[in-house]
């Protein structure tokens, strides 16, 4: 009786409150920046720096460095959101966000800056003037400012891509403004390359303040589990709702479950980064529906299985026996000649030796075998070593095998109805 009441409550709840929506949003790239874990010290450092620019008109530059998915952008977003809660700052601070993936050269970057600052040479979202004009205009605008003018926060994501621009003009100018007595700006570069400083030219490097903040995933397995569960929990909001209480209870139960902890441990050893964890949690959340309202340990196991399958073995499972034979022949050739590249003729003669002497299988003619070989080439399981040499017949082009022997044995075991002689041939190269 009680359970059926809860059921009704569940369905009602799922319709009204849309728990799935919120959880899915949490694991997407547009996640609200509130769900941040760790990095109190780093966040404090950055917060102080940006705040000083915003309030006292100090010019700064800083590099935020850390592996992908370690929360660099999220931290900056949360800092900005916290800063603009202050009315004073909100009116004062201007933010310019650039991304190395979008602004692939300085011309586009400059237009984007003027657009985001809404300077006079923009109309709507169109920018007028040539590159030189825009640069001159922008520099003049920044130069005539002093400490009292509005501070600007520049956030350069994928900072290493900006270092590949010609002459690093944009970086030079930005750092130069940050160095000299002009409008106050704070340049924050976000990158995942640890050696990013080495990419900068000497004059650019000398203008950079060499302040670096590292975001390294240095938390333990226990923290990792806690982070995972805190992502699933629903706090505040209408806790009075029975379903949420039940939900949190279930999540609590999950966090103590042995299977779930095993999965998390495995994931932790693979990859400490939170974004990879999101993939698993997103999968778990996607499996929820009216008939299956709470996540179960088996969901986690399933998610782990999907995310950690070996893709090459999976592709090997789908090729034909003839192609499998060719791969085995290539494996033997690589073994015998110690990793030297081989060509089709060698593979064919190796295959012919096997097909004539050992097997009861039909021996296919050369053209059919060549077609199979080309299919492997198209799947990029085999790669030509001398680039795309069109000068040489395809039979004689040198190739190398891109599959590890263990993947071949793995695939052979899983292959449906694999002839025994092929299996034996794979284990010994003697014919």
């Amino acid at each position: 009786m009680a359970s059926s009441k809860l059921d009704i409550e569940k369905v009602k709840f799922l319709k009204s409150y849309q728990l799935g929506d919120e959880l899915r949003l949490r694991f997407s790239q547009n996640a609200p920046s509130t769900s941040l874990h760790g990095y109190e010290k780093e966040r404090g450092q950055l917060f102080d720096l940006i705040k000083r620019t915003a309030s006292t008109g100090e010019s700064n530059s800083v590099l935020v460095i850390g592996p992908r998915g370690s929360g660099k952008t999220m931290t900056l977003n949360s800092i900005y959101n916290e800063l603009i809660e202050d009315d004073n700052v909100r009116e004062n601070l201007l933010q310019v966000k650039l991304n190395g993936l979008l602004q692939t050269d300085d011309k586009i970057a400059l237009k984007e800056i003027t657009r985001q600052l809404q300077l006079e040479n923009t109309l709507g979202d169109k920018v007028f003037g040539s590159f030189a004009e825009t640069l001159q205009f922008l520099l003049d605008a920044l130069k005539c400012g002093s400490q009292s003018s509005k501070p600007i926060l520049f956030i350069l994501e994928e900072f290493d891509m900006f270092a590949h621009h010609k002459n690093q003009t944009l970086l030079y100018n930005l750092f130069d403004i940050a160095q000299s007595d002009q409008a106050p700006i704070c340049v924050v570069g976000v990158t995942c390359r640890l050696d990013v400083i080495e990419l900068l030219e000497k004059r650019v490097k000398s203008r950079f303040s060499h302040r670096q903040v590292y975001f390294l995933n240095n938390y333990s397995y226990e923290n990792f589990c806690d982070i995972c569960m805190s992502y699933l929990k629903i706090e505040s909001k209408p806790v009075r709702c029975d379903f949420i209480k039940e939900w949190n209870k279930q999540v609590e139960k999950l966090s103590k479950d042995g299977t779930v902890r095993d999965v998390l441990q495995q994931q932790f050893h693979f990859n400490k980064d939170i974004r990879a964890l999101h993939h698993i949690l997103m999968y778990v959340v996607c499996q929820l529906n009216e008939t299956h309202p709470f996540p179960t340990p088996s969901d986690f196991v399933e998610a782990m299985k999907v995310t950690s399958t070996d893709s090459k073995s999976a592709m090997l499972h789908g090729i034909s026996i003839l192609e499998l034979c060719l791969i085995i022949a290539m494996k033997h050739l690589t073994d015998i000649y110690d990793g030297e590249p081989f060509n089709f003729e060698m593979v064919y003669s190796e295959y012919a030796k096997f097909a004539q002497k050992r097997s009861s299988m039909q021996m296919y003619e050369k053209a059919v075998v060549l077609k199979a070989f080309e299919h492997l080439l198209a799947l990029e399981l085999v790669k030509s070593t001398d680039g795309s040499g069109t000068r040489i017949q395809k039979e004689y082009r040198l190739m190398s095998l891109l599959i590890h022997p263990s993947q071949i044995t793995d695939a052979l075991q899983k292959y449906p109805q694999c002839p025994t002689e092929v299996k034996q041939w794979a284990s010994t190269s003697v014919i």
Partner: protein, 444 residues
Amino acid sequence: VDNFKEDLNKTFPCRQSQINLLLSLFGQRHQYTYSSLFIYGHTGTGKTAVTTNILNHFKLPHVLVNCVECYSSRFLYEMILNSLHGNSVTESSDLVKCDNMNDFVRMFKQVSQEKRIDQETIYIVLDKAERLREMEMNILPAFLRLQELTQQNVCVILLSEIVWEKFRTGSGYCEPFVLHFSDYTNDQLIEIMMLDHPTEYDENFYRMYLNLVLSVFQMVCRNLKELHHLAKLNFQRYAEPVKTGEATAEDTRKLWKNIEPHLKKALQTVYLREVSSSQWEKMQQSIEAGQPQLYKSLYFLLSSGLSSRSHVELPYYSKFLLIAAYLASYNPAKTDKRFFAKHGGKTSRQSKLLKKHERASNHMLGPKPFALDRMMAIFYAVVEGRVAPTANIFMQISSLVSLNLLGHVASDDQIDSPKYKCLVSLDFIKSVSRTVNFENIKRQ
């Protein structure tokens, strides 16, 4: 939803788990999903069909782009924007123009707001996604991050035959969620091909036939499209004895005896595209029409095929030049004196053995490059009569290069001492030397 699921399972049998997974990942229209999905699997495993069918059925806002068509990034951007906008290609006046990623992201936001789809998940399906690797560096990472860059609910679906590991370069990407469409087993292949069995015959009869087709082809090919095509092509031949009354539908042994050599022939010809499907059909019809003469001539044509029609008519000296090039490519330079000089040294037993070994490996390793001088020397040794080294002779060499019979080996000084490689097979050179009465095999 459940109704649709059943329909979908009927049209795409054996794809149940994949369909369920995709439906659960997509969720409700307004819900977020993975920012990018990477779907891989062999050709003909239903990657594109299943995905687009789901998207079409629920009328989810989506764009389907084939990356082969978009050979420059500009086409890619404009195609996505225009099809989101609902522009047809014919009314070219108000087509969106966009030539870099920055504008694309900005305009994407605009278009989705204009079309009032910014509250729903927009799906961008990129077929043959391996082509994206050859475009500019920033395209693939930017598409994988599109949700973050546009601050909108977008999901990019990449479809490819190549595994995800081959896409990674540089400092890495925002990883997509990787999904595998598994291959079909033999039973599943038959089940799928049964979907359009010819209605005038019994179901079991056709199933039997498919079994036979698979037994011949499955060792070589597990591609559904290819197998389906071959099965369609040869069915009339299989059903013929039943039609004429020579055998009954139950007489499987007789039918098998009848079709087996035919299918094996098909493996060597139609499967390799040496004979076109229409030619193959014509051949089959000629038997039915009772024209053995026509059948014979066609059969001869088929058995000769494309590859054996490789005979090319060449000028007399060109033939000798080609022969000389072949000899120079496949014989080491130190044997030249023995073969081509008038008083060649005698070979000892030992070196004869050595020679045999060399020849085997040479035919395995392919042609070696040789200098022009060496080729000319061999040419003078093999050609009968005096030949002046006129401009014509050298012209013929360069025309052999442009015919792709010889290949130019890249070297620094092209005019001084060019190097060549012979690019023709042994069979070809044999047929050429036969026409000029030259025994080149013995000479080797």
